[in-house]
């Protein structure tokens, strides 16, 4: 289904050769590769994956936050990368604690991350250091709470 067979995603080995510390865990599911990256290595790994000539993950498709409440670390962010030149896909995952979740912004690497990170901030309350304009994007500016968190009721607080 995907261009890379299960377990054959070349990006994983490249990333490991570059810095062993950057790969905490590799998950294979349904032909999709997920690399769990420690928070402090995220921006470095992003820059590497983007600029490495044999990979060229220049296209950031999406950033998807998931709230695993009440499990700790509570939040995870999934970065869906695409290499248009090599027709490769890769998912980077960063895990964050429930108390004051914050991590460095990747908007300096992929400009498109700007709105995705604003959305993650708006709906999950995750903060991004170094983001140029971290404001709510979908909800009203004076909204209280973060609606897509698991401890936020579906009907809202009324």
């Amino acid at each position: 289904m995907e261009s890379s067979e299960a377990g054959k995603n070349p990006a994983v080995d490249k990333l490991r050769d570059w810095d062993k510390q950057a790969v905490a865990e590799v998950i294979e599911f349904r032909g999709e590769t997920t690399v769990v990256v420690p928070q402090q290595h995220l921006v470095r790994a992003a820059e590497f994956l983007m600029s490495e000539p044999s990979l060229r993950f220049t296209f950031l498709s999406d950033i998807t936050p998931v709230d695993r409440f009440p499990i700790e670390p509570r939040f995870e962010l999934n970065y869906h990368l695409l290499s248009i030149e090599r027709l490769l896909r890769l998912r980077l995952r960063v895990r964050l604690p429930g108390a004051e979740p914050a991590l460095p912004s990747v908007s300096g690497v992929w400009a498109t991350a700007n709105w995705h990170e604003r959305e993650a901030f708006d709906l999950f309350g995750i903060r991004f250091h170094g983001h140029p304009d971290l404001r709510r994007i979908l909800m009203p500016d004076d909204w209280e709470g973060y609606p897509l968190r698991k401890d936020y009721p579906v009907e809202g607080f009324r």
Binding site: L60, S61, T64, N78, R89, A111, W115, L138, L148
Partner: protein, 402 residues
């Protein structure tokens, strides 16, 4: 050809930029989009899109519904291409469960999503032309779109919120003579497209309003995550149908039209060429679809059994009851499935925790991402060009805000 812009000189004085709110109620923003413009006379200094007026919390709602119930919500994301959204969600769920559906159902899905692309592009063409002052194209393109809506209604019973694709196949067997109706539309369409082209392609006003307007460089497009016709009009032939084929697209012969100019006119050319390519795919699909055969996979406990089986066998009845009351539970894990919607890469991310309801659903909607590039398109240009730039990005606000 580049357009000459004449700037009316304003009397000397302390230059103060003016802030102008375009929208949220503005006919040319195609929904409820607000763009905050900072103006120096008629020149746009900065443009900041403000979104969220149509936020309905679809992703949150999905978490409290079973997988099958979520399909009805996907129709309402991009209401101009409901079947593309259905397809994205169903493919993601099918990948999560790990099932393959019958070829016949895959071809029918291809045919209907390509019809959706045609109808969505027709709405785009009509509204974009009306924004730029060409009234008559709208009347013609909506006439043809109506014929496609009638096919939706004939096949699924609904004109807009079709929910026709289900996890494992289709909702029901299409009526026996539906392909004749499709053929009638497909045969008439090339002539209609020629008609639109006589109205626009060499029209001097149309060219003046679109050529050189809203330039997007290939590097800029990639950095902003822009996909679909916008990306292809900037010279990059990335199409999910070709790059990561799904639903048997690898069996179809079609071109990926590209242009290198990266302006509104190039995007117009790409979309018109895409309509013709879609018609090509539809013709091939019509030859591939067999008149009879399964329209749904057979997976006991996950895919509902046929009506016949439900009424005659006790297992069928039990499965039917269980599927429609508590749903089915896919294994825990995450999938990201993307398809080429009329607007670009539509990605559906589903995280399952092994329960019958999705733990998290995320729609990577092309309109949301493409809209982010709007300031790139219109900064430094005239206010009138903002209208052209919004039209050319082909956003659907339901999809932007979800």
């Amino acid at each position: 050809m580049t357009t000459k812009t004449t700037v009316i000189e304003t009397p000397a004085g302390p230059a103060q930029p003016m802030i102008l709110n375009m929208g949220p109620q503005h006919p040319s923003t195609h929904g409820v989009l607000r763009v905050v413009l900072e103006l120096d006379g008629e020149i746009v200094l900065t443009a900041r899109p403000d979104i969220g007026y149509l936020h309905t919390g679809i992703e949150k709602s999905c978490e409290s519904k079973t997988y099958s119930q979520c399909i009805t919500l996907t129709d309402r994301i991009d209401y101009l291409a409901p079947l593309s959204n259905n397809l994205g969600f169903c493919l993601a769920a099918e990948r999560l469960i790990g099932i393959e559906i019958p070829k016949r159902a895959q071809y029918i899905r291809v045919l209907l999503t390509e019809l959706t692309r045609v109808s969505s592009h027709l709405v785009w063409l009509g509204t974009h032309a009306i924004d730029l002052g060409a009234m008559s194209v709208f009347l013609y393109s909506f006439r043809e779109r109506e014929e496609i809506m009638k096919i939706y209604e004939y096949v699924s019973g609904q004109r807009m919120m079709t929910s026709y694709f289900r996890i494992g196949g289709l909702a029901l067997e299409p009526p026996p003579d539906w392909l004749d109706r499709v053929r009638r539309v497909v045969d008439a369409m090339p002539g209609h497209i020629d008609e639109y082209e006589t109205l626009l392609t060499h029209n001097r006003i149309w060219m003046a309003r679109t050529k050189g307007v809203g330039y997007l460089s290939p590097e800029g497009a990639i950095a902003m995550g822009v996909s679909g016709p916008l990306l292809r009009a900037s010279g990059l032939a990335y199409d999910v149908r070709r790059a990561f084929p799904y639903s048997s697209y690898e069996e179809f012969d079609f071109n990926v039209p590209t242009q290198t100019a990266g302006d509104c006119y190039a995007r117009y050319q790409v979309r018109v060429a895409e309509i013709r390519e879609s018609l090509k795919i539809i013709r091939q699909a019509m030859d591939k679809i067999e008149p009879t055969g399964p329209f749904r996979a057979e997976v006991p406990g996950i895919i509902p059994p046929s009506r016949e089986e439900m009424k005659t066998s006790i297992e069928g009845l039990i499965y039917h009851f269980k599927i429609f009351t508590e749903g089915f539970a896919p294994p825990p894990g995450e999938v990201y499935q993307c398809i080429e919607s009329p607007r670009g890469e539509l990605g559906v991310f589903i995280a399952s925790d092994g329960s019958p309801k999705p733990f998290r659903v995320k729609f990577r909607t092309p309109s949301f991402v493409n809209l982010q590039s709007l300031p790139m398109l219109c900064e430094g240009r005239l206010i009138a060009d903002v209208v052209a730039c919004i039209g050319t990005t082909d956003i659907v606000l339901g999809e932007v805000d979800r």
